[in-house]
């Protein structure tokens, strides 16, 4: 079980900020493929992963990264702090 979080327009497209996901995905890319297959909202949110960033357990990571041992995955657009 993973906590999956969405921020900014990813959150808005998917329509929720957080959910628990039962998955056997071995990598972030596999999780993205599973989520995208759910419905049009997820497909729209993940249509262009070059426009997305991912954090694993609150550390920036990348889409090839393995999910073994990970408890929290977050998807969001490039950050605009400062």
């Amino acid at each position: 079980m993973l906590d999956v979080l969405y921020f900014a327009w990813v959150r808005e497209r998917i329509g929720l900020p957080k959910e628990r996901v039962e998955t056997g995905a071995a990598t972030v890319a596999e999780l993205v493929a599973e989520l995208s297959a759910r419905d049009a909202r997820y497909a729209a949110a993940f249509a262009d992963i070059s426009a997305l960033r991912v954090a694993l357990d609150q550390e920036l990571s990348d889409f090839d990264a393995p999910l073994a041992g990970v408890r929290e995955v977050a998807f969001f657009p490039p950050m605009t702090g400062g």
């Binding site: 954090a55 657009p77 950050m79 605009t80 702090g81």
Partner: protein, 148 residues
């Protein structure tokens, strides 16, 4: 080092005056303050979303990296989230060092990394509606000058 993430306004004057106050081992203090800018008079407000937990951790990591790179006496980072109106202060950083070059470099480094590596997202609300602020390629480029 002090890192604060809050929705409330912060007291720039008191924080600036208090930072490095009376420290005779420091010669230079640099501060940066970010203001909600209304480019064309159409901005009603800005909403800043963040990732609680990761935000504080990411900022602390950036501040620790600055302390490892330069000779700093102290580092302060304050960043607000929530709703902000034009002219309101979004955030500030302050650095102090025996030497001005280190204080300036560290403050610019902190700003460049906070822009692109701290999990904040800005949404602008104008009379025309709402739009997420897009990351600028030059903000990503700005990071390359710090890669050694």
């Amino acid at each position: 080092m002090r890192v604060v993430v809050q929705s409330e306004p912060f007291d720039l004057g008191a924080l600036t005056a208090g930072f490095a106050a009376g420290r005779s081992d420091m010669g230079a203090v640099v501060s940066f303050t970010g203001i909600v800018r209304d480019t064309d008079g159409r901005l009603d407000r800005m909403e800043i979303e963040h990732y609680p937990g990761m935000t504080e951790r990411a900022i602390a990591t950036i501040a620790e990296e600055a302390q490892a790179r330069w000779s700093l006496g102290d580092v302060l980072v304050i960043h607000r989230h929530g709703t902000l109106r034009p002219g309101e202060l979004i955030m500030m950083v302050a650095t102090c060092s025996p030497h001005r070059g280190d204080a300036f470099a560290a403050a610019e480094f902190l700003m460049d990394y906070l822009k692109s590596r701290a999990p904040f997202w800005k949404k602008e609300l104008t009379a025309d509606g709402a739009a997420w602020v897009a990351a600028k390629p030059e903000d990503e480029d700005a990071l390359s000058r710090w890669t050694r």
